[in-house]
């Protein structure tokens, strides 16, 4: 009987002893592809997990001109690895000789983009990959025709079957494979990353630039913070007082978004000239001069830009320091990575 009492008492104590109940809320957690130096977890669509076969197929398609109307251009024509998967031309020229009005974005760590294009008009890498193929001023191919070409190819039918197992070739599967390859385009081995790992000492000029960059005197980090060096948000950074291109407003319809564009990453920025959504600046020196002394006021100018008289007024030395720091974000292993090169 004593034992029985003991058991009952113990049961009650175990049941009721906790004064603090910890409850974890439900999260929709994401796939984690990589975590280096504080990289956030990458969101990979549930219906398009990254596979070896899918990435291999996406890489072939990315570099294959078969997707263009006259089989002369591929994704890589305007997204060149040596330029951090950007186009050194101000505006890319399509197969018919036409060009658009925005600079081709660099493809660096795209797996962390919540949407694609300068104005965020596509909500995934998969949907983004659809438009250049059929766009009349870009690759100008009919998707149905592109699929026929792929079906008649000597290796693609087997490649698609290996990657997706459905045994079909479709526009959706083409873009899913390209998106898989793009998500592997990860840059996290710059000189700055080596510094964070304790494997590189910044020079005095780079260190001074680092301090400027990450304090409010430079005010770079609130939009270009670590580790992605972009906040992936939309800002009017003061390029214009009157807008030829209203940017994000075209997507949201809100006048408060007039002249806003996605913050580009500064990783590999030394490789990805020209700069800004319209490629108006050819050099980083021009960009730094603009932020220092050239910001234009408008109703949607970001508060982070509008300091007092709208100028940061950096000295020439400070500009050199910032430039030196920006160059530490260059990742030569990224632009030379053999896994990212053409497989053809």
């Amino acid at each position: 009987m004593k034992n029985l009492l003991l058991i009952f008492s113990l049961f009650i104590i175990i049941s009721c002893k906790d004064d603090i109940v910890v409850i974890t809320p439900v999260y929709n957690h994401t796939h984690l592809l990589i975590t280096t130096n504080g990289f956030p977890s990458m969101k990979v669509p549930n219906n398009n997990p990254i596979t070896v076969q899918g990435v291999q197929l996406g890489r072939k398609l990315f570099y294959d001109p078969i997707l263009s109307g006259d089989s002369t251009q591929s994704c890589s024509s305007c997204h060149q690895q040596k330029h951090a998967f950007s186009d050194p031309q101000k505006f890319s020229v399509g197969i018919d000789g036409f060009s658009g009005s925005r600079n081709a974005s660099a493809i660096i760590n795209p797996g962390w983009l919540p949407s694609a294009f300068w104005d965020g008009s596509e909500k995934s890498l998969e949907s983004q990959a659809r438009s250049p193929v059929s766009n009349p001023i870009e690759m100008h191919e009919d998707w149905a025709n592109a699929i026929v070409k792929l079906k008649n190819h000597s290796t693609y039918p087997a490649d698609f079957k290996a990657a997706f197992s459905e045994g079909i070739i479709s526009k959706e599967l083409v873009t899913m494979a390209i998106a898989q390859f793009e998500r592997t385009l990860i840059s996290d081995q710059s000189k700055f990353d080596l510094f964070l790992d304790g494997n590189y000492d910044l020079t005095p000029l780079e260190a001074a630039g680092f301090n400027l960059f990450f304090t409010e005197k430079g005010e770079c980090f609130h939009c270009h913070g670590q580790p992605l060096f972009t906040d992936n948000e939309f800002h009017n950074n003061g390029l214009d007082a009157v807008f030829n291109d209203i940017g994000y407003q075209d997507v949201t319809g809100k006048t408060s978004d007039r002249g806003k564009f996605r913050t580009p990453t500064l990783r590999n920025v030394a490789f990805s000239a020209p700069y800004m959504h319209d490629g108006r600046f050819n050099t980083l020196e021009e960009v730094i001069d603009f932020y220092s002394d050239g910001i234009r006021t408008s109703s949607t100018l970001d508060p982070l830009m509008a300091h007092g008289d709208n100028s940061f007024n950096w000295t020439n030395l400070e500009k050199q320091q910032l430039l030196a720091f920006l160059k530490t974000l260059s990742d030569t292993s990224f632009i030379n990575n053999p896994d990212f090169k053409s497989p053809w």
């Binding site: 009987m1 049941s15 809320p25 504080g38 956030p40 304090t215 913070g225 992936n232 830009m305």
Partner: protein, 244 residues
């Protein structure tokens, strides 16, 4: 022996009674806990220069992002229920407003809700958060911003619109998170689901008890401990609770 048997009976009935009660409540008393953002009595509207603070500055808000953590529901008798966080909230993104929607509460009187505005020293650790939006709150030198509150205002002496940038965090290594007891946050649980809204009044950051003057601190406050201290003091009254 009879006494012993009686003791078992009493203990058994207490045990069974408490378990029965818990089962009933798990089915019927769910907590919904959300935040909202106001300027005085009106829901915050972004990008409109319509608000006025006690200094007399007309202002608009373009960005409001912050962390809350250590949310505790204090029950009469000493039991404390922790809603695990921290929670990143973007006042322009309603999907971030929900702090909790599934906690089962046992019946009784709850005396108050307390929370930490920002992240205390145990939570404010670089690279401890992995969600991209949370990572975007990184604070140079270590940890995270507690809050980014950014906008523009009209100075009293000129018609030129200027910026205000309120970035709070562990300034110069000193913590400025705020432990807040939310006023009038007592509630009773019977068998009804309960919905609690925690409302932030933006003007409280600027008005009470100290005037936060944009002309004194328009921008660049991340290393200014006096500005951080004013905001910490004013911040203790920014939240109120509405219980339904």
């Amino acid at each position: 022996m009879k006494k012993l048997a009686l003791s078992v009976l009493v203990l058994s009935s207490v045990f069974f009674s408490s378990c029965e009660e818990a089962e009933k409540i798990e089915q019927h008393a769910h907590l919904s806990l959300k935040v909202e953002h106001k300027v005085d009595s009106n829901i915050l509207a972004f990008d409109t220069l319509i608000y006025v603070n006690s200094v007399g500055h007309k202002y608009e808000v373009q960005t409001l992002k912050y962390f809350v953590s250590n949310i505790l529901l204090h029950k009469s008798g000493g039991k404390v229920i922790t809603i695990k966080g921290p929670f990143y909230i973007d006042a322009e993104d309603e999907s971030t407003f929900e702090l909790d929607h599934h906690t089962d509460l046992s019946p009784g009187e709850y005396e108050k809700i307390t929370l930490t505005f920002g992240l205390d020293s145990a939570l404010n650790i670089s690279n401890s958060l992995t969600n991209a939006k949370e990572v975007g709150m990184a604070w140079p030198g270590g940890g995270y911003h507690y809050m980014k509150l950014e906008g523009t205002y009209k100075p009293l002496d000129t018609s030129i619109t200027k910026s205000f940038l309120i970035h709070t965090g562990a300034t110069m290594g000193n913590p400025y998170h705020i432990d807040i007891e939310i006023p009038n946050s007592n509630f009773t649980i019977s068998d009804q689901d309960i919905s609690i809204k925690i409302s932030m009044n933006i003007n409280e950051w600027f008005n009470n008890p100290y005037n936060y003057d944009f002309s004194d601190y328009p921008t660049g406050i991340m290393s200014k401990m006096d500005a951080q201290m004013t905001l910490k003091t004013n911040g203790s009254s920014v939240f109120t609770a509405t219980i339904n």
